[in-house]
């Protein structure tokens, strides 16, 4: 397969030496899911950075009872070709909630809260999980058994349930929610990096490093970690989607970000009371935003898996 593609490449391409990173970039670009996912993630990151910088949002004082449940009719009017709507309505392109707060504004800020929460919890679980897993896999023996049994205990709980339980102990709030979500995800990275470490431990280059007298921590950091990076990156990208869902789920259950601060899950929970009377915009915009964030990370993760680790292609 690869022979066929390289033969069809221009001569100039052939003369260049093989570069793994260029190969990965090309494979990423060729995958439609990676492109779409990358675009979505870029879009989400951009909004999450731009909105808090340019919009100084003061949640506790945001209230305008005259715009209570304002429908997003300015957009609807445009779609119907009616441009005569008063410009005041366009202050609420996504409509307003029960306190007359602009949903677009709150979705924008909520997006950056979700992204930060996702990044924060995944970073903690990747760092702790990788250190735990690589140590267990490299040292093996009793350390390995004890550590992995502990991970099994965490995995014995469905992750959302464990996160809920942890937050009920730590107390509700965004920060505790992020900590709880990251704890539930540690075993995922620990198992993955352990299995990598076990495979790499017996390779010739590691044995060579050992016989040259390199220290255990040095071998883990210099040889085992870099070689187990690809599956970890893939898993972390997919894990970002999970973390965003779970922090939003905690918010939905009232255990995450506390009112009046904007958070997508909490906004959805609050939208339930007005949904029955047909006020769809209060629910739709935060809902679609979460879907786009998670879909972006999942598509990108799938594309990365295909590009970084062709052996895994098609699995899961």
């Amino acid at each position: 397969m690869s022979n066929v593609t390289s033969l069809s490449m221009p001569a100039q391409e052939l003369s260049r030496p093989y570069s793994p990173s260029r190969d990965i970039r090309q494979r990423l670009w060729r995958s439609p899911s990676a492109r779409l996912g990358g675009f979505l993630v870029f879009f989400v990151v951009l909004i999450s950075i731009v909105v808090p910088i340019f919009d100084n949002y003061n949640a506790p004082t945001d209230r305008n009872l005259r715009a209570r449940y304002q429908a997003p009719d300015c957009v609807i009017g445009w779609l119907n070709g009616d441009y005569t709507e008063t410009p005041v309505l366009c202050d609420y392109p996504f409509g307003a909630d029960k306190n007359g707060r602009s949903i677009m504004r709150r979705v924008g800020h909520g997006m950056s809260v979700s992204l930060v929460a996702g990044l924060f919890s995944v970073t903690i679980s990747v760092v702790l999980g990788t250190v735990i897993g690589l140590t267990a896999g490299y040292l093996s023996g009793l350390t390995d058994s004890v550590i992995m049994r502990l991970m099994d205990i965490i995995l014995a709980f469905p992750s959302l349930l464990l996160a809920i339980s942890l937050v009920t102990v730590l107390g509700p709030g965004l920060q505790n929610g992020m900590i709880a979500v990251s704890i539930t995800q540690i075993p995922v990275y620990a198992r993955l990096s352990r299995s990598m470490a076990v495979t790499i431990r017996n390779t010739e280059y590691v044995i060579a490093a050992q016989s040259l007298g390199a220290s255990d921590s040095g071998i883990i950091a210099r040889h085992i970690f870099p070689n187990s990076l690809a599956p970890l990156i893939v898993q972390a990208t997919l894990g970002l989607g999970t973390a965003v869902i779970e922090t939003a789920a905690l918010g939905f259950l009232g255990l995450g970000q506390q009112p009046p601060y904007p958070e997508l899950g909490k906004m959805l929970a609050d939208s339930q009371e007005s949904l029955i009377s047909g006020k769809w915009w209060v629910m739709l915009f935060p809902g679609v935003t979460i879907i786009l964030i998670v879909l972006g990370f999942n598509l990108l993760g799938d594309g990365l898996r295909d590009a970084l680790d062709p052996r895994l292609k098609g699995n899961q």
Partner: protein
């Protein structure tokens, strides 16, 4: 064989022990005084002292743990804080609702997911494969609570086709024997109730089914693809067997193991998904109960539900492993 089962059972013991320690710690590790947290700042000193006494917080931790486990083994799960209700009775009255919802969802996810996965693998890279795999990815990307609210708005509020609150309309009478309303209505021959129960099940079960459906379809596809590349499939085809026969008898049989495993593992997804689904649809099961307990800080309920779901999850995984080893001898010999 016996040795493998025994070892796998023994491995479960430390996990269950660890789970019980974590669940036990739920009340004890609340920062500050758990009794104050549970009763609120305005509680009287006497009621706080009474609660501390009832929860046994004055005793040493190890003793508390032993008493707690001892009571549980004897079937005494304790009482709720609000209303002083017996926990085991409360569970018995709520669990069937969750079981019914979860089983219907798992059933739907399986009968839809497996054929979709097989067809995607057989027609690899066709429009059907591409679109169903994109939908599967979308399925795992939509949080349960977003999907639930979208369905409620569209089918419940906008179109007004389906009910979205509770398990059965209050105007419909139903004799309760098993607590599984579908079965109850069939036993009593109550067609009106059956129809009503079924209509109440549609939206919650679609909501809960989506993630397992997506996962089952993806695993079925990848497992089938792996098998379809094997030499014996080529042999079967080259000796002129009908494609249907090759797929059903040769490929599917061998691809089935990972599929069975993943179906078994969905139980955990379903039970934790039930917390969100039941909350959205006011479904009177243990998930909704857990949600109400979180709001009311009723820690004994939170403990019991968490422990119960974790144990079900552990034993579901164990059964899948054992089943796997019975079907496929390679598993028990390798590990």
């Amino acid at each position: 064989m016996g040795k493998f089962i025994l070892r796998r059972l023994l491995e479960t013991i430390p996990v269950i022990f660890g789970v019980s320690v974590i669940v036990f710690g739920l009340i004890r590790f609340i920062p500050g005084d758990p009794a104050v947290t549970i009763l609120g700042e305005r509680a009287t000193a006497e009621s706080i002292a009474a609660l501390r006494e009832r929860l046994g917080l004055e005793r040493p931790l190890v003793e508390q743990y032993v008493i707690w486990v001892g009571n549980m083994v004897r079937g005494d799960l304790g009482r709720t804080i609000r209303g002083n209700l017996v926990l085991s009775n409360e569970i018995a009255s709520r669990f069937p609702a969750t079981i019914e919802l979860s089983l219907v969802s798992l059933f739907l996810a399986t009968i839809l997911g497996v054929p979709i996965g097989i067809l995607s693998a057989v027609k690899r890279n066709s429009w059907f494969d591409t679109s169903s795999m994109f939908l599967a990815l979308l399925g795992v990307s939509i949080p349960i609570f977003v999907l639930g609210l979208l369905l409620i708005f569209f089918f419940g509020v906008y179109l007004g086709w389906l009910p979205f609150v509770g398990r059965i309309a209050s105007s419909v009478a139903l004799e309760r024997t098993t607590g599984l309303f579908l079965i109850d209505s069939v036993i009593s021959g109550n067609f009106v109730a059956f129809q009503n129960v079924l209509s109440h099940l549609v939206l919650p079960s679609i909501t809960l089914m989506t993630i397992p459906l997506a996962i089952i379809a993806r695993i079925t596809r990848s497992s089938m693809l792996e098998v379809l590349n094997q030499d014996y499939i080529r042999t079967a085809r080259s000796k002129g067997l009908a494609e249907r026969f090759v797929i059903n008898k040769h490929a599917l049989r061998n691809a089935l193991l990972p599929i069975i495993t993943v179906i078994g593992l969905q139980l955990g997804t379903l039970l934790s998904g039930a917390v969100l689904t039941e909350t959205i649809y006011s479904w009177p099961g243990i998930g909704k109960w857990l949600y109400d307990a979180i709001l009311g800080r009723d820690y004994p309920i939170i403990q019991t539900v968490t422990l119960m779901i974790a144990c079900i999850y552990v034993f579901a995984n164990l059964s899948v492993d054992l089943l796997y080893s019975i079907i496929d001898p390679r598993v028990r010999n390798n590990s």
